[in-house]
Every structure is written in structure tokens, then in C-alpha cells.
Symmetry: none
Subunit: 328 residues, 6 copies
């Protein structure tokens, strides 16, 4: 046997196997996505997203408190407005009494150490359900879209968000948001996490059920990236770094691990996030329920694959379970 | 809006979106895994692997014929011996009357243009169910393992296999097989496809049900790679190219897309295969059955992700369906 | 035989030979160049460009309809004005009743899914036949040339073109066009494909016959690239990406495959087009007619060479034939 | 106009255009392929290869003398045996009275400064017309093939050839020839030029007419490279350098310019040859005859493209014409 | 403020600061160095190495047991023979009743999950105190030194060590050890960790007190690397990978972080260890005792610096304290 | 012994060992940090920083003169105002009668050849002790902070400093200072050395004692870099080069040698400084006092490690001693 043929000497023991990894999953790497609705007392299960619910602001303490005790370090908030008046520019998005702003303030006062990120988009707040402002012909009007999204992001920063994370995929919004944060005095106080490589995936179904954010006509293929478009993803990542993103995100995660690896190479000096989206979470759960594998084993294998590919931050619906599993 | 901010101009139309891909899925890129059992008239459904079965040699014409008509170009054969006498060195693996060798000869005579690959391993044929030959203490004995696997591979090549594909993960087996093929006069007649980066995944459950190949004691973590071990995978790919592999494979596929991207960079001049294994196939199907997404859309998104990551050849249980879908 | 000597094991079968390619030709990769003249009922064969003709707008349905049925996905339109009043700035180029604008609107209404690109140049519309606006001494006046070309490109975008493709080779026109598209609201609606590396080749003769676009004095060697100038081509490709090109093109194709390979390396994240120009098409046909080879075999070998070199989009006069050949 | 937009300043004059090239065509870069037949007085025109003929040894002085006067520096000899007894191992290939060996000696005595290369292959001398020695089933037997070709090459070196150039594409023949040359005392006297990337092209038709070298059954696709196989070509180039090639060749030239560019990058320290094969020569001539372009202009554009792609040595049927053209 | 000036937005919160790290310290990354002496009941404090002692085999359970309970995963054993007969070839090194071999067997039986590495060197066992076998003139005799060290390493592997770690710095010892392990049947059972870049540092004083391993004449500057020799270190790392090392180590750690970074770049696919040696440990403790900083804070800052530089495994005398600190 | 195994041949002699270094420590590479207080006759020892003191301007001649005679080439001045009126914007920082400006003028007149750098920060002069100007909520107000620091730097340049070195870590201050220097006519007269990668280390304790610069509330973790943040350090280095830094500095030195190596790679064309800070100096001294090693040997080993890592300039409290040691 040639010396160069032998690799098994390096992984014959569980510990030496663990040394072959570049990093390990820790609680601090998990960010938990939470749906906040505008009925302050709401608690509504989301059937297609097992174990997740829509929460009213008054319910947050009961929900988040125990998780913080177990080591929850950060959340990302998604607004689910059910009772507001939507319009073409998403006016309710930064309503000072809207659910996201109220939840930011509530959580900051309840848990001073909890890191609070907020998704920033217009689709939950526009009458047409698209993520930007539209021309009369229903196509995206880029310039005012980016400006409006920047306005919303600044309002969340003012309310106390530690991080704003635009998921809209409008061209130019990272630059617009960063400019607004700097000019508003939040350049050194609020992190800008860009959904840089967000693909038009079939894995968003359960989220749309959760957030009620499906567009009323057409689809998002003209702004979310085509799933096969490695080149566009790479260009978007490079653009967003140049425009001021502090954290780069790839979304979804599992079927885009190669894009995460590309991002890790293109952005070696930025934290790298991925979003294990609703559909992949639901798919992993469905496979376990069908007896294909053990849920916990597969939750680890898939999540650790994201870390192996290069991520240092994971938005995951498995967060509550990992808080337990990582203590075992 | 800065010129450098604008990306959407490149993907506003379905056709321009398709141009963002580097290559497209074609029928020739699919290789269909088939389970051959030693009861020549068998046809036994595998419940955990929806739509797949164990086939006897006499059933192959009825099974494969219609697929060849639809454009099936290649298969990879897995032996499932149920009636043979297993021993420590996997003697039945190259029994000239064993199912794999009979199936090779049958398929070559029935379909002269069909490309026939054969998985090469000992685990289905050893009394202990491990993929190599063992020391008395139950650990792998590398040198005779590689030699025995080379012997089996050569016998498949002699029977007419266009490709031998060792899945055992013994150190040194690629060199041993290539040496045997060259010395046996098959160096230029038989392709050597290496399962170079085969991970100890939780996604092999349904396959083990199909092939009856679970080990009788212990596990395979001392020869299959640790799931987090990007470095070992990269070293194995480089070693196997140096030892004579004609095609490099990564297995499983979906949770290892970053490894596929690494392989594409490390092996830019070799065809690159991935195996969408039983568990990931079953998981995708389970998600569709649970209503998370449309099956066909997700089969395309996941398979195209492997192509995007760099694969040019995909071992897929979805092959029969793609033969239809690609014609629609 | 050393292991490192053996390569034939990887290409002993037609299927394994096909796996050695990085991608395959598909219908979606073909864009068909069409000559539109200003006599709406014209149909005039072009003898030096076998099988191609000048078409009037009223004839388009009869011409394009059957091709769309066979799978034609995109066309690129060249205006051939024969009855208009030409002047120094190419005023007829964006005449709202000119052949290109009328053809765009006609084709969009007839075939909503057809992708319509338009060549953008002044030479068919200027009294002097040059591709830009001239100083009194007959040399190119760069600044107004770029501005005028941008104006024309915007008018085509407004008429509904999915893609504008400037072939003029004026310095600065990509930036001027992109700026005009963004400011006109078409930044995210119209793709900009740059003839980045267009060489002063001897292969344009039949096209000039077709389009009547030979200059009245001088030649184009001060703006089209010298055929030996790899360095200028590389610089032009990089410049055009920085100035906002969505697609990079090399022209001609066959004698510039090395430039295509350079473009693929310099622009790994952009779609890459090449134009198999009139002269190379006519040359390939002439060789077949002289009995040197079979036409179809050579059409494939030359077109697949462009794909092998890195192209993902091919402007080809063989498009109608490939629509048949790819179905056989 | 931005500074970064302007490129035209570098190529406004014929001389500055010439400076954009990295090197220019000179007579010393041309090697002229000559067909030597075994009737010593033969002079037979080859209709499909315009301007080329089969020559008997006695005719060489009249044919080559004037070319040497014009500056011919090197030839490559192809044997065309019409009267010999062919067999399975190509015995006549190194018959000391065969046409190639006689021509080497004749040319060396007539023109002491002329550089004489010889193609080395078996196909003109084997009864089956294949380039190696076959197994009973008609497939290539690699080991004896490489050994036999080395034997032939050594005999040409002994006869006085300055360069032997194996075109057979058998695995391992470069190593076998180099070993034979060194052991025979010609390691420092005879250059080894490898047809490293020789593709199974449709452009060899006229040559086969000239040399009578079509195989009697089957084709050469199992040893000549698949036209789309960039990876195999890259691996073959690297292998042949490692096995002792002094010059690397790509063949054909025009539809493989990207491969030439790859070779130039992979083999930066070796002379790089390409063979403008019979079919591409005939195609260029046919295009000129059909009026597509001027022959001389196109001969220069295509040949200079090979130089631009990276070649430093060109095997060309245009050699006699270039000897004139380059003096004009 | 320019967007490109702003970095503070990325680290305004303790959690976002933690995301800027590439990996975190975990218990599994720590390996604890232990001194085993040949008095089985010994427990002797080492004054210059605060908190560390020499242990007899009978004392190991009381010492290691509580640490295993707290999460200790691995140890590395150093033999301190005080009563044996030393000679020129270090015969006692692999005495089957020597302290290291007894300790391996004891620990494996007590703690089946504990990973046991052993330092391999001769200096504790040679009469002259050098790390190899000497010529008569007192210089190193390389060949027998490597052979003897390989013999010792194999005997430790046979006794059950999971890992052998040669610290001697003799040329060629990695290849010799790997060959011995493979031929002895331990190629896939025992990990080879190379002290690849071990410098002749002034920080080994307390260790020499602990192990009694100072040479009786001369120094080790002809085999340990000169502290300024980045180039030799880089060459040694590359050599040791080629010779079969499974893990690469740099020693000492703190004043060689740049070498660790080099190692991480040169060996991206291997686990990377560093040894925080006795002197740097003692120095950090002395600084804390002098009131320069808080001990725990500095233990973390220095250890995390090794991780930031690229290490994935740390040999540390702080291990017992970190087992507590990491739980707080 | 394989040739590739042998390295010891290159370092068997003290001189050949010295050749393995890339450069050696010379007096010109040392910059000596000096604390200047506002009592002109002060001379106050700093107990936690052995051998260092606070000096009044009148004492400088007695202190610096002998060092200049021994070869001292440069100093960096830190102001320690004890009697001034501090406020929110650090008004005393550029008081024309403040200690730094007086010391600059004094030293320039006493030692015309001495190179005088000045640390630039606000923390010694602000009432709150932070390094910038604050918002009402105690957070940094970036824009006025950078402006104020630029103002102070310019005043030092005007007083005669050869170099200004901002240690504050406010975003954008390098650009602001460089702009101010250029506009003030000092662009070509005053070097700008940036504390680019200054980490929030535990090693600043003795300095804070020396300079009295601890903040009155909070800490500096929102502007000094997190110790684990390799990425932020790399980005800061690149930013500061782009913003006009003439010299890049890393601080502290010993536990950040990997960052120094990164800086050397990122800034290959700039001088590279490091600051061996108070705590690491005190730690090395404490270790020597505890008998761990010889002080001089360790001062050399640690300082030479900074040179090996890539530094060309070292701010060191060992400077007076090195002036002696380097002469021995
Ligand atoms: Zn949205
Ligand atoms: Zn197996
Ligand atoms: Zn034109
Ligand atoms: Zn031949
Ligand atoms: Zn030693
Ligand atoms: Zn400060």
C-alpha cells in the first residue's frame, strides 16, 4: 500500500473525525425566525411549518423567555399584518404601531442581551404583494423601491433593531439602506445583512402560508435569482459587499451549498449566513415522519453541511430543538 | 441607480434566465441505479424507496426495454444476493452465475447501445456485511481488501461492463483496480468511476433496505468519510485522480453540493458524477407527499442544483420520470 | 503501461465520450439573425448567404411561425433600410415607422414568448455607412456616436425589445446605453448584450451584401479590433462588463475560439455569446458543397467547438436546420 | 467619455494595429506536409486537396528545390505506400526501402539545412488501417501498439529524421518513443513532437484520400479524442509533456483554437504546434472559390488566429503560397 | 462618511462580534499533555510549570477521572523515565514495561472513549539526551535515527495509542513511521501527528525540568528549526504532508502564529495542531501573577489567537481550566 | 533517506541558520514610545510598565540624548495630560501649549535627525475617556469624531511631527486625516501611520496606567476590533490603504502575528508596523523574572517573530535595551 493511498489513519476515532471539521455548530451561530402578527394576543399554529406559529406581541414573553434561558442568542422578525390597510408602497411596513416595531421594542426591553434582526421587505405590506414598488404595467420600479426599503430599514434601526436584513432583491437597495443608516447616525449601530443570493425557489411555500406574502399576480422571477444562475449569485454577492453589506446571506441553504461555498470564497472577510427556509425545514421533517431517517441526525447532518460549506450564521426553524440537542 | 447596482436586466425573461445556467440537464447525463437479485424471476417493490424494486434477470427486458425506448442511456447495477453463501472475502461477488454478471451479459445482448456500469463492493457478499476484508479484531485489513475488490472489478469488466464503480472506500483500491484493468487488457475498454467522496451519511437507509447491505456489527465510519470532513474529501478526490480514476463521484449529492463544487475545481478535466442517494430521493418524495412543494418542480430544482454545482453525470432514482419530463 | 499513460478508458463508448463535454447544444442556446427590410412585403434571397433572405414585416408570420413551432426561442433583428433618407447621424435608425421597430412590435404581438434582440448600429442608416458619427475629416467622433447609439438602443427597448446589442464598437457606448436604459426605466427590463470583441474580419462579406452596410469610404479598422489583437479583445471584454453589459459577445466565432476561451475566463459570471458570422457560415456551406465533409457533421463540429470554448449562446444562420437536427 | 472607456487610441494606424499582436508569422514557423509514395517517379495530384500531390522520391528535388530557394525551412513526411504488403503490425512502416526512409535520406543529402520531420503511424501500413495493433475482437491492444510505434520512430531517427511525430493517439506511446530514442542514442538528436490533442474530426477526409489511410472497419473514436472533450485534451497535453514530448501539437487547428489556448497555458515552456488539416485547408479554399472572401486574406486571418491563440509552429498546406506572400 | 469607510456596523454587539470569528474554542479541540514517570505511585509537582506534575501509572485514575467527567477528550503522554538504563539508541523508549506503554494500556482500559496520543522521541531515553542516534563525533546519524523512531512509534501503536506524534525533528522520520505503521497493519488505525514546524525556542525550559530531557552536551539547533526560519518551516510542513502525516503541528504557538497561518494555507485539508509549550504557559501565568492582566482573559485571548490563526487542535496545559471555563 | 526528506543540510551552522531569515532586526526598525506629561519637570516611574516613565518636556534632553547617541532613530509621543480641563471633544489635544506639541518642537530643535511620530487620539483629552465624540446616549458619533481627529493630527503636523498615527479606530478617520494633511499643505511632509488592526486586547492595562486613558464608562469594543476578527482586520487594512495610509500597523503584536502575516500579504508595498504593547512587554519581563527564560533571549525571539511575520517597523519598550544589545 502506497503511503499516498492511505487516508483512513486520520479518521479512525470519533474525536479524530471531529477534528476533520473546520468548525462546529454552537448556539451563537443560530438565528431563529419568528412571525409577528398584528393581533397582540395571537398565537396561531402554521400547519405547513411544523412547530412554528404566528405570535402577537403580548405572547412574546411566554414564547421567547424559555428559549433565552436555554441559550437563544438572536431572532429575526417577520411581520405578518392581517388587519392593516395595504397600498402600493407598503405604507404599513414602518407604521410605528405595526407589529415589527412593537416587537423590537418589546424584546429589547425584555431581553437586553438578545440580538434582534428584522427582515425588511414590502411584500407583506403592499396591496399587490410584490417586494417593490411597481410601474403601471406591473413591473418593478427600481429606484423608488430601493428608496422605500431604505426608509423602512431606517425606521426599524431607530426602533432598536441590531440588524436589518432586506429580502426584497431590488437592485441598489443595499447601497440605499447603508446610505440611510449612515446619514441617520446608525452606520455604526445597526448591522446590514443582505439576502444577497436569494433564489426563486420552490421551497418558500410554507413561509408564504405563514406570512401571507404570495403576490397577487405574476411571480418574483424577475427579481429573485434563477436557481441555476451561479454567475448572477456571484455578482450579487460582490455587488452587495461593495455597497456596504456587513453580512452576506444565501437563501435557501441545502440546495445551494455550492453557492455558499462560492460566497465563502468571494467574501472571506465577512460573516456568512444562510437561511434554511421553510420548505427545506418542512421537507426534512416530512422525511423523518416517513421513516427515511432519524430527525435529529438529519437536522445535524444538513445544518453541519451548511457550516462545512462555509456558513458562520444559520437562520433555522430548528433553533429551539438545537438549543436542547446541543446541551445533550 | 448606479450601473453597478443593476443585475435584473440580465434575467427579465424566461429565456435569458436559462442563459444564466452553465449547462442543462439532458437524458445522457442520467444514470439509473438498478437492484438485481439472484432470483431470476423476482420483482419485489422496495417500500422505503418509492417506485424502485429488486429485479431478477429474467424481468429486465420488461423493465428496461420501455425506458430504453424513452431514451435511457445508462444504468448502474447493484447486486442483491439473497440465496448465496456469504463469507469473509465476499466470494459470491464475482460468481460467474451471480446476478450482476448475468445481468451485464443480458443487458449487453438486449441493448447494445446501453451503457452498463456496475457498483463494485463486497458488503452485499460478505458474511459480516462490511465493505472490505477484516482483521480478526473486526477492523479493516486494507491491502487484501483492495486486492479483492480489484479482482471483482476485473471480473465485471470481463463480463462486459463499460464501467466499474467501487463504492467501498478502502484506501488504495483505485490504484489496485486500474492496475488490474490495464494488466487484464481492459485499460482502454473499461471506465473506472470512483466513489471518491462518499460520506457516512444518514441518507442510506432505504438503500440498505433495498440491498440488504447493513453491516452485522459496527458501522462504516472508519472508511466512509465523516460528513463534516471537507479536507478528507478533497484529498480523496486528488488521490483518486492520481491513482487512475476516469470519473470522480460525490455521494450523497444534495447535502454535499459544496463538495461537488470543490471536486469541479480540483478535477476540472474529468467528468464529475454525483449520486442522489436513496434517502435524499425518499426525502424529496416525502416532502411532496406532505404538500410542501410540487414533486416535479423540486426534482428539477434539486437535480439542476447538482449540475450548477459542477456535475456532468447524475445517478438518480428519478431517471424514469425525467425521461418523460424532459420530453414535455 | 503506466497508470498515468491511460486515457482511453474514459472515452471508449459514445456515451462516455459525451460525458467528456462540459455542456451540450440545446435549442435555447440558439439565436437566429434576421434581416428586416423596409418594404413590408419584401422577400429577397441573399445569394452569398445561402438560405437567408431579407424580409418585410408582413412576411414575418409566414417565415417565423413554423420556426417557433419547431422550438425557435429567440431572434436578433438587423434593419436593412433601402428606401429611407440616410444622413450623418443615422436618423432613420429609430424612426418609429422603421423596419426594426415595426418588426419588434409585430413579433411581440404574434409570439409573446419569443425573445427579441435587436442589433444596434448606425451604419445601415448613415449616409457615409460608418457605424458612428464622423468628424469633418471622416474620423469617428466618439462622444456623440455613443450618445446617438444609446438613443437608438433606448427607442428599441421602448418598442419592446428584450435585448439591445450594439455592434458598432464605439468607445463608451455600453456605459451610455446602460445609463440611458436605467434612466428610461428599462434597467431591469432590457438586456444589454455587447459585441465586446468584434474583429475587423474578412468574414463579413455576405452580411454586407445582405444589409447593404459597407462604408462609402475607408474601412472599419479604427473601431473594429485587429484580428491579431488578443490584448485589446481582453481589455474590451473587461471594460464592457464594468460598463454594464449583461451578455458578452465574441464575433466572428470560428477563427476566434481562443478569444471565446479568454472571455469565458474573464467573464465567468456572465452569459457568453458568439456570432457565427455570414462568412464563416458561407465558408462551411461552400466546403460541404465542394465535398470536403458532410454539412450537418461540420455544422455540429464547428458549433460544438464554440460551446466547448465556453459559449452559452450562439447567433447562427444554421438555427433553422438545428431546430430539425436536434429533434432527430 | 471616461478614460476607461477608450481603447481606440491604441489601434488607429496599421502599424499600431500590428503591435497589438504578440508575434507575427514568419517562414520559420511553417512546416510543409508532403506525401511520399512508393513509386519513385510518381507525381499524382490529389483532387480534394487543391494544389497538393503524392510524390515519388525521384521527384522531390524538382518539387522541394524551388521552395527551399524561397525559404522553406521544414517539411513533415507522410508515407503513402501503394504497392507494399500490409499486415497486422504495419511491417512496411520501417522497411529500409520504404518511401519515408528513402525520402529522409534523399532530402538530408540534397538540402543539409532543411529540417525533416516524419509523421509516425501504423495506419498506412496495417492491413486493417487502424493506427495500432489490434486484439482479436478488433479493439486496440495498447502495450504492443506503443512498442511497435516506438520501433518505427527509432528507425526514422536512425535514417536521419530531425523530428518524429506520432499521430496514432495510442496511450503510452510518447513514453515508449522517448525511451527508445534515448536508449538508441537519439535522445539528444531527434525531437519528439506529439500529436497530443488530436481530435476525431470530420476534417480529415482529403487527407485520407491523399494517404489512403481510412480504416477498413470501425472508426478511430476510441483513440482520437472526442471533439467536445476539452478535459481529455488538457490531460493528454500534460501527460505527453511528462512522458517526454519536446513539442506539443493540437490538430485540427481552426475549430480547436481554444484548445491551442489551453495548450499554450498548460505548456508555456514548450514549442506549440498546430496542424491546419486537409479539410480546413480545403474548406478555406472552397469558400474563396465560392466568392465568400479573398483567399489570401483568409489564409492570413486563419493562420494568424493560430498564432494569436498561442502556436509557434504551423503545419500548413498553404506553406508554398506563404513563402511568396511573406515576401510581398 | 463613505460607505466603504464604515466597518463598525458589523461589530456593535457581543453576538455580532462573535460572528466575526471563523470558529470557536470547544472542549474537543483541546489535548492535554501529561508527564508519566516510571515510579508507578509517583505524584511530583513541577515548580516551573505551575499546576502540572509527573504522574505514576497508578495515580492516573485519580488524576484523569475527574477531568474525563468534565469533558476531557484527549491526552498526549510524555514519558519521564527516572530509573531506567539509558543508552545510545534509547532502548527504554519502547520497553513494554516502560511508563508510556503501561499508561496507554491503563488509560485505554479505564476510559474507552478517551483519545490517547503519545509523544515519540528518544531524548528522554538516550544516554546523551539528544533526540536521535549519534555519530561518534556527536552529530546526528539521520537514517538509523528515523528507523529507531519508527520502531518506537509502532510499539506505541501496538500498545493501543490512537495517535503517535514524533517531536524529534529528524529528517525522514514521518515517512519511516508511516511505512512502519502501514506494514504493521496500523495504517488505518493510528493517526500520525507530525511536529512539523518545531522551533529551537527559549520557551522549553519548564518542560525540560519536567521531563529531564536536556541534552548532556550541545544543543538541538541542528535539528529543531531556527526561530526566524519561515522558509524551512514551510518546507517541513509540505514535506511531512507528502510523507504521510495526518495532522500537522506548529510548536511553540504564541510567537509562531504567522507560521500557523502559513500552515493553514499550505495544509488546508489537514487538521492543524499547535502546542502552547511550557514556557509560554508559564509566561502567561507569570504575567497574571504580576498583575498585568486577568489570567482567564489572557488564557482565552492567546488560545483564541491560535484558533484565529488556523488551528483546530491545541495542546494546552490550560486544558483542566478550560474544561471549567467553557462550562461557565 | 529520500532527497526530499532532508532539510537539516540548510541549517547546520549559526550563519546558515541566520540566512534562513528574510531580514534582521536593526536599530532603524525600532520606534520608541514615550509618555509626555504636562508638568514640564516631571519624571514619574510607571510601576506596571517596568523601566518606563512619564516625562516632562524639560526632562527630555536628559532622557533622549543618551539614547540618540546610542543610535535611537525614532520616537512616538503619547500625551499624558494631568492638569488640563477635559471636555467632550478633547479640546486640550491640540492646545498649542499642550505637552505633545511642546515635545515635538523641543525634540525637533534638539535632535534634527530624530524622526518624531505622534500618537493621535482623543481619549486622553476627553472628559469621558472615549476615543471619539459621543452621541447623547454614549455611543460614538462617527462623522465629527473623524473630523476632530483630523484637526488634531493636522496641528501635530504643523508643530513638526514627521508622522501622525491615529490610534482611535473611528471609521473614516484615515481619509479625514489625509484630506486635512493634503489641504493643509502637509500631504508630502507628514507620514500617516494607521493603527489599522488594533484589537480590543487585555494587554493594554499598563498603558492605561501610564496614560490615564481608561474610559469613564463602557469599553472600547464597539470601535477596537474583536480579538478573533481576522476578517474585520483584513478589511480595515485594505480600507486604510485605500484611504491614504502610508504605513499600516497591527496592535498588539505577539498574539496577532497571523494578522501581521495577513497584513504583509495584503499590503506588500507599504511599510508594516506593529506595536509590542505594554501588556506583552510586561508579560515578557514577568516571565523572565519568574525564571521561565532569559530576558534578552526572549526579547529577541519575540521581536524577531514580528519581523519573521512581516513587520518592518516595531514600536517597542525594549528599544533602549536593543540599542545596547544590537551593539554587543
Ligand atoms: Zn418580499
Ligand atoms: Zn459496501
Ligand atoms: Zn455598424
Ligand atoms: Zn494513423
Ligand atoms: Zn526529543
Ligand atoms: Zn484612544
Amino acid at each position: 500500500m502506497d503511503i499516498s493511498s492511505v487516508l483512513q489513519g486520520g479518521y479512525q476515532h470519533p474525536l479524530s473525525r471531529s477534528w476533520q471539521a473546520r468548525r462546529s455548530l454552537t448556539k451563537g451561530m443560530l438565528m431563529y425566525p419568528i412571525f409577528i402578527t398584528d393581533d397582540p394576543d395571537a398565537y396561531v399554529d402554521i400547519p405547513t411549518l411544523p412547530g412554528q406559529a404566528r405570535w402577537g406581541v403580548n405572547r412574546l414573553e411566554g414564547f421567547i423567555g424559555p428559549l433565552v434561558k436555554k441559550g437563544l442568542k438572536s431572532v429575526i422578525l417577520f411581520g405578518v399584518p392581517l388587519n392593516c390597510e395595504k397600498d402600493g408602497s407598503g405604507t404599513p411596513a414602518d407604521d410605528p404601531n405595526g407589529p415589527v416595531i412593537l416587537a423590537i421594542m418589546k424584546l429589547r426591553s425584555l431581553y437586553p442581551d438578545l440580538y434582534i434582526a428584522t427582515d425588511v421587505c414590502l411584500c407583506e405590506y403592499t396591496s399587490h404583494g410584490h417586494c417593490g414598488i411597481l410601474h403601471a404595467d406591473g413591473t418593478i420600479n427600481s429606484e423608488p423601491s430601493a428608496a422605500r426599503i431604505a426608509e423602512v430599514a431606517l425606521s426599524y434601526a431607530k426602533a432598536g433593531a441590531h440588524c436589518v436584513a432586506p429580502s426584497d432583491m431590488m437592485d441598489g437597495r443595499i447601497k440605499a439602506i447603508k446610505r440611510a443608516l449612515i446619514d441617520g447616525g446608525f452606520g455604526n449601530k445597526c448591522t446590514l445583512m443582505s439576502y444577497s443570493a436569494k433564489f426563486a425557489s420552490a421551497l418558500y411555500g410554507p413561509f408564504r402560508d405563514a406570512a401571507g406574502s404570495a403576490p397577487s399576480f405574476g411571480d418574483r422571477k424577475c427579481y429573485q435569482l434563477p436557481p441555476t444562475a451561479k454567475g448572477l449569485a456571484r455578482r450579487a454577492i460582490q455587488r452587495d459587499m461593495a455597497e456596504g453589506a456587513d453580512i452576506i446571506m444565501v437563501k435557501p441553504a441545502l440546495p445551494y451549498l455550492d453557492i455558499i461555498a462560492d460566497a465563502a470564497a468571494l467574501a472571506p472577510d465577512h460573516p456568512l449566513a444562510c437561511y434554511q427556509v421553510s420548505g427545506e425545514y418542512a421537507m426534512v421533517v416530512a422525511g423523518a415522519r416517513a421513516g427515511v431517517y432519524d430527525l435529529r441526525t438529519m437536522a445535524f447532518e444538513t445544518t453541519e453541511s451548511m457550516i462545512r460549506a462555509g456558513c458562520t450564521l444559520i437562520l433555522s426553524y430548528f433553533t429551539p430543538q438545537f438549543l436542547d440537542w446541543l446541551d445533550e
